[in-house]
């Protein structure tokens, strides 16, 4: 059964919607800025989405108030995504459309505010008594409520692979006949827990991040919301993009460090290729996880060299977006999808002096050429790995 992407949208530090992202990638204009997140004095750069605060939720959704849900609200309104969902609901019925979202920290920023603003007796103020917000499943609840879909709704939280794994679960739901279409996506917003948490791990750079550069010294935290509407080919006759394959694995090695040989990463990529029934040589472009941390970039390059012969283009786009954690998977999946649609392959922003120890050559400058099949890698803490394969109009197919 062929799973196709009927519609998609991405909002991140480069702006709201696909056009903003595409322009920034083409013009090599980063969305990163010096850390100006309220209440955070860490010297770093961040991928903040401008004006999220201004996207007020409608009154009927005030009980779900949080920065994360405002970001989701802003993202859902781009690229006619809500209209596409509405059309799908008209076609198959609300109970046949599900929701699978990825996030790392959900609306924990709202929980932080609730604790900072306890009343004099130490109790939570009434406006913060939001059981459906102080909850990992908050994005799933929010998107189900906004869209009115009545199919199953769940939220995956496997750190930085979260919103890549949503594609695999969505495809399994559709193939199992649980639903006919799925809103898959990810929403993760900046919050103090994440900014200070990664800073405590000494993983945050004081400069704009430099993936795969010999002088890379850490990541920049970003935020994003992205969504894709997946369905069967016969329900989306005009869709030309397909989810060709997916591979999931777990290192079972360390809480925060990838396996030194990249075993889990290799397994995820190989499983995706096996699932799609293609060889590595057929993949034209890989959007790498490429966080700019010392460990990730070295080990991901090592893993790439075990799977690909060196001819497949590979780059990291974290220099534009920052590391959007639980929303990184969907944003980079969309960048991979866009490359198959437009033939525009982004290079690796801020990498001026590539690490010569790496076993795989990274694409530095933007490239233009046909991309029939693109892969995206997402590797998270806990050794959670996910690789996805997308095919453009010329390939299609898939299992």
């Amino acid at each position: 059964m062929q799973i196709v992407i009927d519609q998609y949208t991405a909002s991140c530090a480069t702006g709201l919607g696909l056009d903003a992202l595409s322009r920034a990638l083409a013009d090599r204009v980063s969305g990163l800025r010096r850390n100006d997140f309220e209440g955070c004095d860490i010297a770093s750069w961040i991928g903040r989405v401008a004006d999220v605060e201004k996207y007020e939720l409608p009154e009927s959704l005030h009980y779900l108030e949080s920065r994360n849900n405002r970001l989701a609200w802003a993202g859902l309104q781009q690229d006619r995504f809500l209209e596409s969902v509405e059309t799908m609901v008209e076609r198959v019925g609300a109970r046949r459309v599900g929701v699978v979202l990825g996030t790392s920290t959900s609306s924990i920023g709202q929980t932080e505010m609730a604790y900072r603003q306890l009343d004099p007796d130490g109790d939570m103020k009434p406006e913060f008594r939001q059981p459906q917000v102080h909850n990992l499943h908050s994005p799933g609840i929010f998107v189900s409520r906004v869209t009115g879909v009545r199919g199953p709704s769940l939220t995956i939280s496997t750190a930085c692979s979260s919103s890549a794994k949503v594609f695999a679960t969505a495809a399994r739901w559709i193939r199992a006949g649980v639903v006919d279409a799925v809103i898959a996506g990810g929403v993760d917003s900046l919050c103090l827990s994440v900014l200070y948490g990664f800073n405590s791990l000494e993983l945050v750079s004081e400069q704009p991040c430099r993936p795969f550069d010999v002088n890379r010294d850490g990541i920049n935290i970003g935020e994003a919301a992205g969504f894709a509407l997946l369905t069967r080919k016969d329900l989306a006759e005009e869709a030309t993009l397909s989810l060709l394959g997916y591979g999931e694995s777990c290192d079972a090695y360390h809480m925060s460090h990838p396996h030194p040989d990249g075993k889990g990463a290799v397994l995820a990529m190989q499983r995706a290729l096996h699932h799609a029934g293609i060889s590595a040589a057929q993949v034209d472009y890989v959007n790498l996880h490429g966080t700019a941390s010392q460990a990730n970039d070295q080990i991901e390059a090592r893993a790439m060299a075990q799977v690909f012969d060196g001819k497949t283009l590979a780059s990291s786009t974290k220099g534009w977006t920052g590391h959007c954690l639980g929303a990184a998977g969907i944003i980079e999946a969309i960048i991979a999808m866009e490359s198959t649609r437009t033939g525009q392959v982004p290079g690796t922003l801020n990498c001026t002096n590539p690490d010569t120890d790496f076993e795989y050559d990274i694409l530095l400058e933007n490239h233009r050429g046909p991309v029939d099949i693109a892969m995206t890698n997402s590797f998270g803490f806990g050794g959670n790995n996910c690789s996805l394969l997308f095919a453009g109009a010329r390939e299609g197919g898939g299992q």
Partner: protein, 90 residues
């Protein structure tokens, strides 16, 4: 398949579905991410094992499933790779 997994109601009352789906996800990953579109006897056996909390390893599978907290499901499936495990045990 949807009915078999228990998806018959709205999103607020489908605990059975999420429980069964969590087990299905664990099972699929234990089978090397096979593309499984239909129920099968093996999975039916796992469901039964989870439902009855049977401490059986006769099939070569062991299921750990539960609700960590309200509406938070977990499932772990262990495949015991010894073909003659049952006879060894007995």
């Amino acid at each position: 398949m949807a009915d078999y997994l228990g998806w018959q109601r709205g999103i607020d009352s489908a605990v059975d579905f999420y429980s069964r789906w969590t087990l299905w996800e664990a099972y699929v990953k234990c089978t090397g991410n096979s593309v499984l579109e239909q129920e099968n006897a093996e999975f039916r056996e796992l469901l039964e094992q989870a439902r009855t909390e049977a401490n059986s390893v006769q099939s070569g599978w062991r299921v750990f499933q539960g609700e960590a907290e309200n509406r938070v499901q977990f499932a772990a499936v262990i495949r015991i790779p010894f073909k003659d495990f049952v006879s060894c045990k007995s």
